[in-house]
Symmetry: C2
Subunit: 179 residues, 2 copies
DNA sequence: GGAAATTACCTGTCCGAACAAGTAAATCAC
DNA sequence: GTGATTTACTTGTTCGGACAGGTAATTTCC
C-alpha cells in the first residue's frame, strides 16, 4: 500500500485556498480535480475496508451481502442485487463463495423454481459483531476529527455528487430508449 | 459515533419523476453513512468513467497511465507505479494490455538492465484529446449545478476524508514497523 | 571483490465488477 | 392454450486490484 508521503500538492488553482494537499496530484490529473479526488478516496477507502475485512475472512462486498441477510433474513439473489445495486453475475459468484466459506446457505424457493433463497448460517452470526465493528471503525477513521456538523456536511456533499451522477446516468439511458 | 444518520438519506425525490431512480439506502448500511456514501459514489463514478472510456477503447486506470506518459514522457514501470500509487503486478498487466492495444511501446532502459522504459506511441496521441475530453465531461457531470465555491468545498471535503485515511494507514503501518 | 539486501519486473491466484450470452421458469397477451 | 416477453440465475470473458512467490539485475556493506 505505502501511500505516498504527504507532500506538495500542485495547486490546481481555485481562488484563495492555497492549502497543501496530502496526495500526489501530478498535474496530469489536474484536469479533473473532483473526479481524481473521488478516485483516490475510493481506492484508499476500499483498500482499508479490505484490510479490515481480511482479518475476519471476508472480502469487500461480501460483508454487505451478509449485513443485508442478517438484517432482513433470507433473500433471493435478485433481492440482494437490488439492495446493493449490484450485478446479477457478480452476485452469483459472491453468494457461491460465501456458501463455500460456510457463511450462507441456499434453499430452493417454495414458490419460484427459478429462484433460491439465500440465508445466513448459524456460524455466520458470530461474524456479525465483527463486521459491524469493522464498519464502525472504518467510519471513525474516515471522519476522524470531524464535528457532527462537518460529518453531515460531508455526507451531503457525497450524496450531492452521487445524485449528479445518478441523474446523468438516468439522462443518458433515458435518452437512448424511453423506459 | 458519527452516527448522525440524517433521516435515512432519503427525501430527494426528483419532482415528478415517476420512478425511484435514486439510491437504495437499506438501513443495513445506516451503520456507516459516510463509508457507504463513499462506496456508492465510487461505484457510480467508476462505472461512468468506464462507460465513457469504453468508447475510446480504454479501461478505467489505463487512461491514467496514458496521461502520465503523455505529460511526463517515457517512464519506467516503477515510476508509473509510484505516480499512480498502484501495484507493480497490476502495472505489469496494464502496460502489457496497453502495449497489445498499440498505445504504448517498451524500450529497454539504457542504464538499468532490469527496467524498461514505457513510452506512448504516435498512435496514442490521437487519444489524448479524447481522454481529456472524457475527464472533463466526467468532471462536469459530477459537479453539475455546483458553484465554484461549492466545488472547492467539495474538493476539500474529499481531500479531508482522504487525508484521514492516509493518516490512519500511516499510523497502522507505522505502528508495526518504524519507517 | 563478494555476500547480503534491495529493486524491477513477471507469474499465478483469487476477488469484485462489468458485459455478453445462454437456460429455465414464470408471466403476459391473445 | 399457445406464443412472446420478462424474470432469475448461470457461465464465460476481460479488466483492475491485491497478495504470494520467483528471477534477475543492482546497490550496499564489509
Amino acid at each position: 500500500m505505502a501511500q505516498s508521503t504527504p507532500e506538495g500538492g500542485s495547486g490546481w488553482g481555485p481562488p484563495g485556498a492555497g492549502q497543501e494537499v496530502t496526495v500526489p496530484v501530478p498535474a496530469a490529473a489536474g484536469s479533473g480535480p473532483i473526479s481524481h479526488a473521488i478516485f483516490r478516496l475510493a481506492r484508499l477507502h476500499r483498500m482499508f475496508a479490505g484490510q479490515l475485512l481480511r482479518r475476519i475472512g471476508l472480502h469487500p462486498g461480501q460483508e454487505l451481502v451478509m449485513m443485508h441477510l442478517w438484517e432482513l433474513g433470507p433473500q433471493r439473489q435478485a433481492d440482494l442485487v437490488r439492495l446493493m445495486d449490484s450485478d446479477a453475475a457478480t452476485m452469483t459468484r459472491t453468494v457461491r463463495r460465501l456458501e463455500q466459506a460456510g457463511f450462507v446457505r441456499r434453499r430452493p424457493s417454495p414458490t419460484d423454481k427459478r429462484a433460491s433463497l439465500i440465508e445466513p448460517t448459524a456460524a455466520s452470526h458470530a461474524l456479525r459483531r465483527e463486521v459491524e465493528q469493522v464498519w464502525s471503525q472504518l467510519e471513525d477513521l474516515s471522519t476522524a476529527g470531524l464535528s457532527d456538523d462537518e460529518c453531515t456536511a460531508a455526507l451531503r456533499t457525497l450524496e450531492r455528487l452521487e445524485r449528479n451522477l445518478v441523474q446523468a446516468a438516468a439522462d443518458s439511458t433515458g435518452a437512448n430508449r424511453e423506459r
